[in-house]
């Protein structure tokens, strides 16, 4: 069982590394122009929405992984 927890911990770490790559690749280049002073606000809003979607996907993947690794323990 303990190896399962270490495996889950390692999987979380890999997901953080991959997630970081996706965040830098997707959020980094986003820049809004043509709305004057609102550029900064609209850009931040778009980044926030994408970040929330990425976090939700991250949690869903983690949840699936948890059910797969701890199948026996979670459903006794």
């Amino acid at each position: 069982m303990k190896s399962g927890i270490y495996g889950f911990l390692f999987a979380m770490w890999i997901l953080i590394l991959i997630g970081g790559g996706i965040v830098v690749t997707i959020l980094g280049p986003i820049e809004v122009t043509g709305y004057g002073d609102a550029n900064w606000f609209i850009g931040s809003l778009i980044k926030a929405i994408i970040a929330i979607i990425l976090v939700v996907i991250w949690i869903l993947v983690l949840s699936k992984m948890k059910n797969w690794i701890f199948k026996k323990e979670i459903r006794p």
Binding site: I5, F10, I16, L17, G20, G21, V24, E73, P76
Partner: protein, 330 residues
């Protein structure tokens, strides 16, 4: 770098000494006022005093003031105020039973000094891929970070010595990482957290003479979160905290809402006849880290504690690897 050695040594000695010397006095004070709770994992009726938060926060404040005298950094002031606010929030929860909303909401407010003092860099650094500029989003991250780290450490405070022992490993890992990324000043600012936790662990380890309570756990968690933000090592800090994060994640994903542990009816862990801990088969009980550790069979409280410490060391090593990866760009 060399001129930082004296402040580092002095603040570490002060942090350790203050907690080491004041905790026995606090234990006596709490015993006289009968401020004790039953240790649920002992066969006999053992009463343990709480909360130990006052000596923890005192150690942090005094050592950080010493550091401020040497370094005069706004970051130190922000850390002191946020950590003290987290202590006050925890202390209210120790004395009066508050609703599930209380700690997340008030800890969000406690994070405001970090923004007010401008003690942050809005670029979020990731290993291998570099930084991303998210100025507005980062403010939200600051407000989220303190409630998350505070409650995460609080949620792992389930067995004798676990919260403070875990904090010793996680905070020293974070300090090593800050040295690796060459953020020397914040690395030194972070060291008292480890020494305060270490001094308190002496009294909290099994068999506990004092429990940190919400005031102690939130103080440690909030300071950890504050250091992560002011040091610009949010991702590394999250990695070092992973076992506690897993505990909160498992709990939330099985309960599916934010509730206090005392509101949960099902028991995730029970005792054998010889008072070892064993996982229950109660379907209404939340899945927790301790329950998963016990899935392999009953263990003593001490064995479970050491299993959690081994996980903390493993995630500390991952954090150090992550810190080295910060300097590598793909």
């Amino acid at each position: 770098m060399i001129d930082l050695v004296i402040p580092a040594v002095v603040s570490c000695i002060v942090a350790f000494s203050v907690v080491f010397l004041t905790t026995p006095l606090l234990i006596q004070f709490l015993q006289k006022r009968n401020m004790a709770v039953k240790d649920m994992n002992k066969k006999e009726d053992v009463m343990v005093v709480r909360p130990g938060g006052p000596s923890i926060v005192l150690g942090i404040i005094v050592s950080e003031i010493v550091l401020y005298a040497f370094l005069q950094l706004n970051e130190i002031i922000a850390i002191i105020i946020t950590t003290s606010a987290a202590f006050a929030i925890g202390y209210v929860d120790d004395r009066k039973v508050m609703g599930g909303w209380f700690k997340p909401v008030t800890l969000t407010i406690a994070a405001i000094p970090i923004i007010a003092f401008g003690a942050y860099d809005s670029d979020l650094a990731f290993p291998l891929f570099g930084e991303v500029q998210i100025p507005a989003l980062y403010l939200g991250l600051i407000l989220l970070m303190i409630p998350i780290t505070g409650n995460t450490i609080n949620s792992i405070d389930v067995l004798n010595g676990v919260a403070t022992g875990f904090m010793v490993i996680a905070s020293f890992s974070l300090s090593i990482c800050l040295f690796i990324v060459q953020n020397y000043e914040i690395a030194i600012v972070s060291l008292p957290l480890g020494f305060v936790s270490l001094a308190f662990y002496k009294y909290h380890k099994i068999p506990s003479k004092i429990f940190p309570g919400d005031s102690g756990a939130l103080t440690l968690g909030a300071m950890y979160g504050s250091i992560a933000i002011v040091g610009g090592v949010e991702i590394i800090a999250a990695v070092a905290l992973l076992p506690a994060v897993i505990n909160s994640f498992l709990f939330l994903s099985s309960v599916k809402k934010i509730v206090e542990h005392r509101q949960i009816k099902g028991k995730p862990v029970d005792h054998t006849e010889d008072f070892k801990l064993k996982a229950t088969t109660d379907r209404t009980a939340p899945v927790t880290l301790v329950r998963l550790i016990l899935a392999g069979g009953p263990l003593s409280e001490k064995q479970v504690g050491f299993a959690i410490f081994k996980l903390a060391i493993f995630s500390g090593i991952l954090a150090v690897i992550t810190a080295f990866m910060m300097g590598v760009s793909l």
